[in-house]
Subunit: 235 residues, 6 copies
C-alpha cells in the first residue's frame, strides 16, 4: 500500500505517527512524509529562510531513517489558509503520493496550521483523482477510496482514540526520527520549557496503558460515504 | 411561502430533498432550486465546459417537472471556497429567492463543496436583508427570519434526523427528477459503482422505517437566535 | 388527543410544562397530570404524612384550574427507584391516561427523582399496551405509538430545546397553577432562597427570546423506532 | 475464539448481528447465542407460558442453522432490571460462554429490555473471572479481556457505526435464521405493521452503502481500560 | 493582568462580557476592548461611513466608562473572512493588548462575523509572540500562554457555560455601557423588535439562577495544549 | 472546608485524587475518605472476609498519612446496586462527612462499582440535608450546596478534564498513600500485569503536560441547578 502522512510542520509526523509509519515501512509498504510548511518560524532568532533550510535537512534525515519519501512544498510556516492556492498544493501532494491511507492532524488540534492542513486534506481528497481540476502540476492519481486517519492531538487534549497501533517495537526508532529535528528539540526546551522526547514517551505510554501494550499511538478514522471500514488497514 | 434549496451540485437537491420540495410545490408554494456549482467535473472524459452545459439542461428539466425556478450561478465545480467572491454569489441567490425556508447541506457531509455551500448559506443569511452590502447585484430581500434546514448526509453518515417529511406520495416523482440527471446516473455507475436510484430508495425507505411511513426524508434544523420554532414549517 | 404529564413532584409539571398543557386544554384535548411522588419531603418541619396531604390538595387545585385529571399514586418522595415496584406504578399511570403525548423530565435533570421518573416512563412505555404484564391493576391501553417529550431542565442547565411552544397567552394561568402550590413557594423562599415565580418567568422569557415570542416553554423529543415525527403534535 | 451474542429477546440477535455470527461460525469459531428473556410477551393473544415455549423452539432452530449453542435462562420478557438477581444470571451466561468477543445491545436502543441487557453485560463483565462472586452457579471463566461490541440500533436510530462487517455472503442465511422466528414475523406484521424481513434488508443495505459493499452490519466497540484495540477482531 | 475582549461588533462586548470586564477593571487590571468591525451595517437607512463614525463614538464612550482602551481596526461590518488580511489585523490586536486573558465569541454563535472573529482569535494566538510573522505592524508581544474564554451565545442558544462570574454588583454599569450604543438600542427595537436591555437582563438573571447569585455571565474556556488551568483567572 | 472523596474500592481514591486531597489537608481542611466497598474481591486466592480485613488496614494506613478520616461501610465488593439499601448507606456517608466538596468516580468509568457509586452520590446528594428520609442512621447534615467533582477515569479513557490541580508537590506522598495498598500493587502486577505506581505516574505526568506543570490531576465538575461556580474551590 501507499502510506501518506501530511502534517503541518516538519516534526509533527514524528511526534504523532512515526511509530506507525515505521511498522508500515518494515512491512514493505511505500511511505511518504509530507511536511506541508517549511517550519521557518520554529526559532525566535534564526531567520525564516535559514530556518527553513535547516528544517528541510532535518526532515530529510528523519525520512531517510525509514526509507520514506519526503514531500516538501515549502509553504510559509504559520501562514496556512483554506484557500485555492493552498488547496492546489495539497491536491498535488495527494497525487504525488497516491495514498491508500492518509494520516493527518485532527480537525480540533491546538494549532491553526494543524487545523487548516487537516481541512485541506479533507478538501483535496475529492479532487485528487479528477482529470480537469485547474491549477494542478500533477496528473490525477487513483480515484479509489483511501482511508483518512486523524492523528492524536498533542498531549491528547480533546482527542479520544478509537483505534490503536502497538509501537512498542518501533518506539526507539521513532525517537531517533524525532531526534533528527535537533533545532526543535532545543527550541522547545529553551522557549516553551518542553522536553519533546519526554512528551512523546509519556503520550505513547499513556496510550499504551489504554491499549494494553507498552507503547501505542492512537487514531480516529474519518467516517465518510463508501469509506466504512470492513477490515483493518492499520498495522 | 418561498422555498429555496441550495445544494452544491446539480443533482444533490434531487437526492436529498426533492420529495419534500414536491410536497411544497403541490401545496402551492413557490419553489426555487439553486445549484451552486455547474457540476462541470462530473465526468472523467467530457470536458468541463461541455459538461456544465449538459448539467444545466438536466437541472432545468428536473426543476421543470415541479414548476420550480432554477438558479444557476455557474460556479466552477470542486472550487467552492468560503471567501468574499463566493459569499456575494450566495447572498444574491438568497435575495433572488427571498426564502421562508432554506434547505442546504449539513455542515459535516462528505464533500468539501457540500460543506462550503452550507457554510456560505449560514454566512450569507445575515446579509440577505441588509441594504448596504457591497458587491451585490440584487437589492436586499426581506430581513425576516427564515428557517434553515440541513438535509440528510449521503447514506446518512454522521447525520441523525430530528424531523421527517413523509414522501411516500412524492417518491416516484423524486425519482423522475433524479432521472433527468442522466449523465450522473451513468457516471456514478461506471466510475463509482453506485446505482444512485437504488441509493435514494434505500435511504428514503430507511428513514421511512424510522418515521413510521413508507418513504421519508430526514432533516435537522439550525437552532439560532430568534429562530426557535413554535410551529412546524415542514410539509 | 390524550395528553399526559408525568413529573416527580407535585409542582414540577407547573414549573416545566403547564403553559403547554393549558394550550392543549383550551384546544379541547384531555389533559392528565400525574405527580409520581407525594412531595412529602417538601418541608423541613412539617411531617411527611401531613405534607403529603397538603400537597395533594395543592396539586388537585392546580389541575382543577384547567380541568385536568390528577393521578396521585402517592409514592414516597425522594425514594424513587427504577425497580419492579415503581415500574408497575408507572405502567398503570400510562394505562390510565392512554396518552398520545407524554411529557416527563429530561433524563439528565438535577434531581434523582426527576431522572428516575424519566427512566420509568421510558421503561413503562413498551408495556402499557401489552396484555400479560404481571403486577398491573389496570388493563392495557392502546399499543399505538405516543410521542415522549422531555421538559426543560430547571434553569435550563444541560438542556437545549429543539422545539418550543409559545405560552405568551397562557403564562398568567401557568403562574396561577404554580401559586396553588403555596407550601412550596414559601419553602423554596425560606430554605433555598428561591422565588419560584420569578424563576419560571425568567426561564419562560429566556426561552421566548430564543423562540421569537414573549414567553415559551422548550422541549426535546425522544427519537425512537417508528416514532420519527412527520407532523407537529405540540400546540 | 469464543463468540457470544447476548440480546434481550429471542430474535434480536438474528436482526442485529446474525450476519456477523455466521462469518465467525464459518471460520470455525465457537458461537454462543444467549436470549436473555424468553420473549413470552411477544404476542397479544397467546399466553406467556405457551409463547415462551414456542420462542425457545424458534430460537433453537435458528441457532442450529449455524451450529451455535443457545443459552436460554428464561427470564420473564419485559421484566429485566439491573438488580442482583439479573446480574447473577448474566454473570453465569458470560461464564458459560467464556467469550473473546461479546455482542450486545447499544445502551441507547429503543426498548428497556435492550438497554438493561446492555447494562447487565457491562456490569457482569468485571465479575465473570473472579472466584468469590456470590450467587453464581458456574465457576469463573477466564479473567482475560474480551471485547464488547454494541450492535446497531433497530432502524439505526441514534446509532452511528464505527466498524462494519461485510455480510453480503451471509445475508441469505441471516434471513433464514430470522425466518425461524415465525411467531414474531407474523406478530410484527399484524400488530406493528412491520415486515421484519424487509426491515433487516433495508438496514443491511443502508449500512452496506456506507461500507462500500452489498450488505453490512454496523457496530461500535466499548472503549475501556486496557481494551484499546491494536488489531481487528471482527471478521 | 492584561484583559482583552475581542468581539465582532461594537456592542457585542457590552452584551456578552462587560460585567466581567468591569470586575477586572475595578480590581486594577488593564482592560482592552477591541471591536473587530466598525458596525457600519447596523442601520437600514444611515450610510455605512456615517454609521461607522457613530458607532466608534459610542464604543469609545462605553470603554471610557471603565477606563478601558478601545482598539478600532475599522474592518468592514459583515465582511469578516478567515483570510490572510484579517488574520494580520487580529495578530496586531493581540500584540497591542498583550493579553493574559482573551474573551471572544463562541465558535458556534449565530452570526458569521462572530464565528470568524472567534476563529481569527484562535488562529492569531500562535503568532502573537513570534518575531518573523510577515504583514504585521506591531512587534511581537509575550509568547506566554494566555487563556481564551468563549463568551455566552446571544440568548444562550447552543451554549452551556462551564464557569460563571457573579456580576450582581456590576450589572448596572454594564447596562450603562450598553446604553452608550444608542444607535443599536433603537435599531434593534425598530427593526428586530428586540429590547436589548431587557435581553441582557433576562440572560444575566438566567445565568445567575444557575450560578446561585443575582446576575451572572457564563463562559467556556478553550482547553488547549499547556493551557489546562490549575487556578481560576476569572474574577 | 470539609472535603469528601467517595470511591468504590479502597485504592481508587489514592489512584485518582490523592494528590488533590493532600493539598487540601496541608491547607488545613478536614478530609474524609470513604471506601464504599471493602475491596474483598481484590485477590484470586485470599477469601473475601480475610481480604476485606486486609484492605481496611491498608486504607486506614493511607488515610493516616494525611490525617484523613476513613469511612468504611463494608459494602460487598462487586455488589453495588443503585437500590434503596445502598442509597441509605451513601446518604449516611454524606451526612457523616457533611462535605463542601465531593470527589467521586465519573459516571462513565470502566467498572460497574465505579459507575454505581457515582450514581449513588448523585442520588444521595438531594437527601443528605432533609430531616425525614427513612432508613438513615445519622441526622441530616447541612442543606447547603456542595460541589461534586468527577475524578479522571483510569487511563483517562473517555474523560477530558476541564479543571486541573497541580500535584507536583504532593505526588510523592500520593505514591506513598498508594503503596499502603500492598495487596493490590502485588495483585495488579500478578493478575493484570499492571504496575499501578507506573500507571499513576504516567497519568499524572500526562495531565501535567496538558496543564503546564510537572504532575496534575484532572477533574470535571457536575453542573447543576444553583451550583454554577463563581469561584474556584479546587486547591
Amino acid at each position: 500500500m501507499n502510506i501518506l502522512s501530511v502534517a503541518a510542520h516538519p516534526d509533527d509526523t514524528e511526534i504523532l505517527c512515526a511509530g506507525t509509519l515505521i511498522r508500515y515501512a518494515r512491512e514493505g509498504h511505500r511511505v511518504t512524509i509530507a511536511a506541508f510548511t517549511n517550519g521557518s518560524m520554529g526559532d525566535l532568532v534564526i531567520k525564516p529562510e535559514e530556518m527553513g533550510a535547516i528544517r528541510k535537512k532535518e526532515a530529510q534525515a528523519a525520512a531517510d531513517l525509514i526509507g520514506a519519501k519526503l514531500i516538501w512544498p515549502a509553504v510559509a510556516d504559520e501562514q496556512v489558509f483554506p484557500d485555492q492556492q493552498h488547496r492546489a498544493i495539497m491536491v498535488d501532494i495527494l497525487r504525488e503520493a497516491d495514498p491508500d491511507i492518509i494520516f493527518t492532524h485532527s480537525p480540533n488540534d491546538y494549532h491553526p496550521d494543524h487545523r487548516y492542513v487537516s481541512q485541506l486534506v479533507f478538501d483535496a481528497y475529492s479532487q485528487k483523482g479528477l482529470p480537469f481540476i485547474p491549477h494542478q502540476s500533477l496528473p490525477p492519481c487513483r480515484l479509489d477510496n483511501a482511508q483518512i486517519y486523524y492523528m492524536d492531538n498533542v498531549c491528547g487534549i480533546r482527542f479520544m482514540p478509537s483505534e490503536y497501533v502497538d509501537i512498542s517495537d518501533t518506539f526507539e526508532l521513532k525517537k531517533q526520527m524525532l531526534c533528527c529535528h535537533k533545532s526543535q528539540l532545543k527550541d522547545m526546551k529553551d522557549e516553551a520549557n518542553t522536553d519533546v522526547l519526554e512528551l512523546i514517551e509519556t503520550q505513547a505510554r499513556f496510550r499504551g496503558l489504554a491499549a494494553g501494550c507498552k507503547y501505542a499511538e492512537g487514531f480516529n478514522r474519518l467516517e465518510a460515504y463508501q469509506r466504512g471500514l470492513t477490515k483493518r488497514v492499520l498495522p
